[in-house]
Amino acid sequence: MKPTLTFLLLGLVLAVMQAARAQDETLNVPKSIEAGRAFSIQNPGSGEAILYIVGPGQVLKRTVQLGTSTSFPAGSVCNAGHYVVILAQASGTTAQSFDVTPANAPASLSFFAKPSRLPVGLHDGITGAVYVFDVYHNLIAAPTPVSFELSSPSGAVQRQLVSTHGGAAWTEMDSTSQQGSSKFVARAGDVSSARIISQVPGDPCDLKISAQPSGKELDLQTAPVRDCSGNAVPDGTIVTFTETYPGGQSTVDVPLKRDIAEVKMPPHDGATFTVASGVVLGNQIRWGK
């Protein structure tokens, strides 16, 4: 009974020693490397083996001499990700893993800006979202400062500085009070990306008409039509004149021409003339008794 126990204990000690030796002979792989950087893997043992580096981003296979280190020159592994390293030899396989991290310097941006056209003076009307990539087009997940700038046609600049979270940053900005093209720029490090945002006048503001007799008709004319920021409302915008009189109503749609809409209407006794454009109502004029 006693010799059996001794053999068992001896066997256990040998097994533990073997396991410890095997652990010493594991692949020496860097825990992480920067994308595109040179690196090497130390292969334990002696003889020849095949080294596999496998990840969804890249697959490499090398025949290696054990007991030496295998060097991978710069540019060998450029896609950030998690890679499995397998050393296959006659006696079996050993596996390790390492991470390839993105380079820290931003090299390109994906910039979504919306909308491309909007009315002036809209609060939080413009949104921008950015993803920051390195030179190998890996998403830089580490916090990276991004600045957003919206330049108005007058030269005034709205600026916001935000930090990326998981490689993404976003902002909301007000459209400016002046119509025209604005430049919306996102910048991270030395790279920038620009979008043009077209800002158009808003709805007419303070719509006013006046009336003048013109022969047998009445000449109705708007004052120059502006939005609430003072921008001229574009020609072609429809202005609706309505005459309501005892026993009837007539309506005429007139496009703006050089900021003004004008129409001739028959003056009925006791008629009321009103003007509207879109959802905006103007003043009204009573005519006759």
Partner: protein, 165 residues
């Protein structure tokens, strides 16, 4: 009798690994950033399409067919995966990705609705074969950063990149 036969068939399929188990999936939206709310339908579609992308990726790598990526991937993600498939085909290597667990955390829904970013703490097995001979199967636990963008009728993976945990 019929039921017994069905059970036997199911046992054979499971034993031969012809039917792969569905991965365990959890979803968390508590860390979502951005002004745009993520509606339940959008969330469900994004998860469904993302999980399908793992199947698509596995099939593409297993069959050395980069065109099988077309349905699920776009842009950089598709290019990188297609390049890796070309590399493995040239080396006579095949890889199989069997996903087991996905802990998905929605991170960002961009204001204009053109991208969803999520983090996936995934657990999967990578099996490597060299000229059809199994080399090794390695269990992997990795955190993926994923950016999805809407395509014609579904969300496609534009960025899929493992990040150090």
């Amino acid at each position: 009798m019929l039921r017994q036969s069905a059970l036997v068939c199911a046992s054979i399929l499971l034993a031969t690994g012809m039917v792969s188990a569905q991965p365990e999936v959890t979803v968390d939206t508590s860390q979502l950033k951005g002004p745009r709310p993520l509606e339940d339908q959008t969330k469900a579609a994004a998860i469904r399409d993302y999980l399908q992308s793992w199947q698509g990726m596995n099939e593409a790598f297993e069959q050395d067919q980069p065109n099988l990526l077309d349905e699920d991937f776009i842009g950089t993600a598709k290019d990188n995966l297609a390049d890796a498939i070309d590399e493995q085909a040239k080396a006579g290597v095949q890889t199989r990705y069997q996903d087991r667990v996905h802990h998905i955390q929605f991170l960002f829904y961009s204001p204009e609705g053109l991208s969803i970013e999520l983090i996936d703490d995934a657990e999967y097995d990578v099996q490597v074969l060299d000229h059809d001979k199994p080399v090794s199967t390695v269990p992997v636990s990795a955190r993926y950063i994923v950016v999805l963008t809407p395509a014609e009728v579904r969300w496609k993976v534009r960025v899929m990149q493992a990040d150090s945990k």
